[in-house]
């Protein structure tokens, strides 16, 4: 399947270079300047993609399908849980996109008919036709993959892994907890959205306990033994929160095998632990629309060609962001934003009949270890035989045992990054 799609794309590109063959080889007429470009999902990936399609091809019709009128950002939402930010500071509207001439449709994408090239709209009925579709569906929870964890359990033991009401719920539970309580976090196996996210959150919860509820403690039960920025987090925890944070990896029976919401119990193979507040970060998969469109494989995630983030499973659909199989490029807002810009550029180049540019992408993720200190991880990636690969010698972590000035400088950079990337996506 993958080979066929790649081959036809090559033919298509070859066709664009020579004019005579165009009508035959481009039945969808992507060379038309009035190509219909549609984006599903208005997060960091989708909003950025819509803006950059419009930027590169200003006279083209760009439609963004997104059910929510307000987007609530996940990056920096751990600061809401820690008490440093208000959830309202995480909210962004689509007014900026509308002002650019993007048609923002607040409906749920129902099904993608890959043969007819249409997306059905759930609430309003009808459908939207596309020549090129970019899907940025984010993640959905694999309900039931962790025994006992379903939608009802999440109202008691919040995941807070999609920002919004869940974020506020976890914050309220922490505020309501009596001093002396035990907060338990369950962290999943990779892949999941925001690999360092659980550990940034743990740091900020531990800071809250240390400063506001000093007789309390956070226990992280982890399904794995290694995690993003581990040496830096361990260093920070030993230094900042020795009495308020304990991490237990898989080798120490940290993996949670089931939860029971009514009794607030998390069970490992070794013991049952009763929590005062439980934050269960569950196993995840690509947003459900990906499955309905046939762009997710048996892993639940979406394979892509790193040349232009086109789906290897369906023609004329590109997938970006957390839903993709793009490792070693992580599931981060930075990645989604950059993949969106790159994908939009490659589509615009195809529409304009230009050769595609080589894939060179990067990622930077900052994580707070306290309200005024942060650490970072970076990477640079290229396309190696159809897979994204890290460029040797590049990227890596902030230095270990660095001066506080290094950590405070990265906290200031993180703050600027958030304001910049949300402006680029939604402003």
């Amino acid at each position: 399947m993958s080979k066929r799609v790649t081959l036809s794309r090559r033919h298509l590109l070859a066709g664009l270079a020579g004019t005579a063959a165009l009508p035959v080889l481009a039945p969808r007429a992507i060379a038309q300047t009035n190509a219909r470009l549609v984006v599903i999902g208005g997060g960091f990936g989708g909003a950025t993609a819509a803006k950059f399609l419009k930027h590169f091809l200003p006279n083209t019709s760009v439609t963004l399908i997104e059910p929510n009128e307000t987007f609530v950002a996940c990056p920096f939402s751990n600061l809401v849980i820690g008490g440093q930010r208000e959830i309202s500071q995480q909210a962004f509207t689509y007014d900026g996109l509308r002002a650019l001439g993007i048609d923002v449709v607040h409906q749920t994408a129902g099904d993608v008919d890959v043969d007819a090239h249409t997306v059905s709209l759930l609430e309003g009925g009808g459908s939207v036709a596309y020549d090129k579709l970019i899907m940025s569906p984010g993640v959905d929870i694999r309900w039931g993959a962790l025994e006992g964890y379903d939608e009802a359990a999440a109202e008691v033991m919040p995941h807070a892994w999609k920002a919004g009401a869940q974020t506020s719920l976890l914050r309220q539970q922490l505020e309501a907890m009596e001093d002396g309580g035990l907060v338990v976090m369950s962290a999943p196996l990779a892949p999941f959205r925001c690999p360092p996210g659980p550990y940034e959150r743990a740091s900020l919860i531990a800071h809250y306990l240390k400063t506001q509820k000093p007789a309390s403690k956070l226990l992280i039960l982890d399904a794995k033994d290694s995690f993003s920025k581990k040496p830096l987090f361990l260093e920070a925890w030993a230094k900042l929160y020795p009495d308020h944070l304990e991490w237990r990896g898989a080798a120490d029976f940290g993996r949670v095998v089931s939860v029971d919401a009514p009794t607030m119990t998390l069970s490992t193979d070794f013991e049952d632990i009763a929590a005062s507040v439980a934050n269960v970060i569950p196993p995840q998969k690509a947003g459900e629309i990906a499955e309905r469109a046939g762009v997710a494989d048996e892993t639940g995630w979406c394979p892509i060609n790193p040349l232009d983030f086109s789906s290897t499973l369906q023609p004329d659909i590109h997938v970006i962001g957390d839903a993709t199989i793009a490792a070693p490029m992580p599931k981060s807002a930075f990645s989604a934003n950059l993949q969106a810009k790159f994908c939009a550029m490659q589509i615009a180049r195809q529409v304009a009949g230009l050769d595609l540019e080589p894939t060179v992408l990067a990622n930077t993720c900052y994580s707070y270890i306290s309200p005024d200190q942060a650490i970072s991880i970076t990477g640079v990636y290229s396309n190696a035989d159809g897979q994204l690969a890290s460029i040797d010698g590049a990227g890596g972590l902030s230095p270990e045992n660095a001066d506080d000035s290094v950590r405070t400088a990265e906290a200031a950079q993180a703050d600027t990054w958030f304001r910049t990337i949300t402006q680029e996506a939604f402003g």
């Binding site: 165009l22 970076t378 990227g395 400088a409 200031a412």
Partner: protein, 114 residues
């Protein structure tokens, strides 16, 4: 200079390709040539990364919008060669060749060089 030549070549390709004529719905103001903008210049793809962090927001990350190509290249080269550097830029620049960094600098600084 290289960029300008490339731009002219691009414009020529777009005008000569006759793509608009293949589209039954095309009207003159929708020609591909009119649509293509500086964003589709060669090496634009490399520079897409930068705007995720660099803006006029101020704070912890430099606003490079008024930097010349030379100033950007000087900074990138310093990051690339400074072995004990602690910032994300030190780690990122090591992923690019000198030619790529020069191309990024030329692209981003183009407006300030004239």
């Amino acid at each position: 200079m290289i960029r300008k030549v490339r731009g002219l070549i691009l414009a020529g390709l777009l005008a000569g390709a006759g793509l608009a004529a293949c589209s039954p719905a095309a009207t003159p103001d929708e020609s591909v040539g009119a649509q293509a903008n500086a964003g589709l210049s060669p090496v634009a793809g490399l520079a897409l990364t930068c705007s995720g962090c660099h803006s006029s927001m101020g704070g912890g990350i430099a606003d490079i919008s008024d930097y010349t190509s030379e100033a950007i290249m000087t900074a990138l080269d310093r990051y690339r060669l400074e072995v004990d550097g602690t910032t994300v830029m030190h780690r990122l620049t090591r992923g690019y060749s000198e030619d790529q960094l020069q191309a990024i600098s030329d692209y981003l600084g183009a407006g300030q060089d004239e």
